[in-house]
């Protein structure tokens, strides 16, 4: 996060500039230190240049830790642009060209085949083109013909599929919760007492969790009396699970940091094992 003291005096600015200059020199020196390995390919320097630039950008991104600054903004916007360009080219290479150009104008060996392809593909191509009208303000309504088709398809499809995947598939194991443990525990398992009791306990916890959380998100009745207890239980369950998510999020971010650190120390500076 940006440091609180946005009010930066001139003297402070100069100090920062000096520091920046020093850092840059250090960076250049460190980059130059990278020595050329024996029997490297002759385009070695291209890669090296790339690594140096990447390292520079990485450091610039980290400069945000000190404060939001022009360099950071530049880098951020630059990569947004590159990503955008990458998307454009890939959409052309992997979608539009192979779906429209090749099958119509490259592949067909004879005219008849071309006509057949055209017949098969004209509808989606036209609809796709209609999508593009969304850009314009006046003809924009044309794009609705395509959008409604896509959205309608998605919506209609999603209803049974959601029921299947998120309701039925999730409900079935929840029903078998305790009985699964008690019922046909394969002979040889039901010997010790705890080997039954503990899973049962766990299943009961799951049961309580599902029901109480569902009830917490149940808005049609006031949460009074027993209800208030159940929803309270729900909150507690929610919190525990959020805790799990929290821990994992921290873990993920740290992993990213580790990765970048490895990049800086190994690939750029060539330090460490």
């Amino acid at each position: 996060m940006a440091a609180p003291q946005e009010t930066t005096s001139r003297s402070r600015r100069t100090v920062e500039l000096v520091v920046l200059a020093v850092l840059f020199v250090a960076f250049a020196g460190a980059s130059a230190a990278g020595k050329r390995p024996a029997n490297a390919p002759d385009d070695w320097w291209v890669t090296r240049l790339g690594v140096v630039i990447a390292a520079g950008l990485t450091l610039i991104m980290y400069s945000f830790l000190y404060r939001d600054n022009p360099l950071f903004k530049m880098a951020e916007n630059l990569f947004v642009g590159v990503a955008l360009g990458y998307g454009v080219i890939l959409t052309w290479r992997q979608s539009l060209k192979p779906e429209i150009i090749d099958p119509l104008f490259i592949d067909p060996p004879h005219l008849h085949a071309f006509w057949m392809e055209l017949a098969r593909r004209s509808a989606p191509i036209v609809l796709g083109a209609l999508l593009l009208t969304r850009i314009s303000r006046r003809a924009g309504w044309l794009s609705r013909y395509s959008y409604t088709l896509m959205v309608g398809w998605g919506a209609g499809l999603s209803i049974p599929i959601t029921i299947h995947t998120y309701v039925l598939q999730q409900l079935k194991p929840s029903l078998g919760l305790v009985s699964k443990v008690l019922g046909d525990a394969p002979a040889g398992q039901q010997a010790s007492f705890w080997s039954t009791a503990l899973p049962v306990l766990g299943d009961l916890i799951i049961l309580a969790g599902i029901v109480s959380v569902l009830f917490y998100f149940f808005f049609s009745v006031e949460h009074k009396g027993a209800g208030s207890f159940v929803s309270q239980l729900g909150i507690w369950f929610l919190m525990v699970s959020f805790g799990a998510s929290f821990g994992n999020t921290v873990m993920g971010r740290v992993s990213l940091l580790i990765g970048r650190m490895r990049f800086l120390l190994h690939d750029w500076l060539g330090l460490g094992p």
Partner: protein, 224 residues
């Protein structure tokens, strides 16, 4: 106007109905229908992506035109985009002229590897620092709920890293912490997530329903 709104909504409903029904029909027709439709939408998907990309570009254009705060930086978006697209086009042409060996240098990939990858990979790693400082300054057990949250967070964080096993060995049971973490994940967490999924899916279904019946129209953009 009827051809601007009514017909599209009718199309939406009909399409939705077909999609819904074909789920329950085993006849080869329904499979053929699905294949045809999915092919259509796969092809249309390409155009749709262009719309998305255009929207992004347009945002920056307007920002420059309106000279909004920090509009100067939008220029860099264009710089990046132009460089990359240029490189891509150059390679397309090069490939068209003569066949290129695999080992040939590709500026397009170079831009991706050494500009996009480092920036994008770094952005979220910054958060590791912020998490640490926030952990120290703001993550408080203000109430029982928050306390529970923090406890389970700590358990998971500790249980998922190797050092917990070392510590566990000292304590006698080497896998006590990992198991605690796993238990948290597989019992309370699983239950909650399942409940949430059920809730969300019901919400999603009613959303789809609203769309089908034209009650929800927020997705209809582009001129009115």
């Amino acid at each position: 106007m009827w051809y601007k709104l009514t017909i599209p909504l009718i199309l939406c409903f009909v399409m939705g109905l077909l999609a819904f029904v074909h789920e329950f029909v085993p006849h080869p027709w329904s499979a053929a229908f699905r294949e045809e439709m999915t092919t259509w939408f796969r092809i249309m998907g390409g155009f749709a992506m262009f719309i998305g990309l255009y929207a992004l570009l347009h945002l920056h254009v307007s920002r420059i035109r309106r000279q909004q705060a920090g509009w100067g930086y939008s220029a860099f978006v264009f710089l990046g985009a132009v460089l990359t697209i240029g490189a891509g086009v150059f390679e397309e042409i090069r490939a068209a002229v003569h066949d290129v060996p695999e080992s040939a240098f590709s500026p397009f990939d170079w831009l991706y590897d050494y500009v996009q990858v480092p920036c994008q990979a770094t952005v979220f790693s910054i958060l590791a620092f912020f998490m640490a400082s926030a952990a120290f300054r703001t993550f408080r057990a203000r109430n029982l709920g928050a306390a529970l949250l923090l406890i389970s967070a700590v358990v998971v964080m500790f249980g998922r890293v190797p050092i917990s096993e070392e510590v566990g060995r000292l304590a006698g049971a080497w896998d006590i912490f990992p198991r605690a973490a796993d238990w948290l994940m597989e019992y309370p967490n699983m239950a909650v997530k399942r409940a949430i999924y059920i809730g969300i899916s019901l919400g999603a279904i009613s959303q789809s329903l609203r769309v089908l019946f034209g009650i929800e129209r927020s997705y209809l953009g582009g001129g009115s």
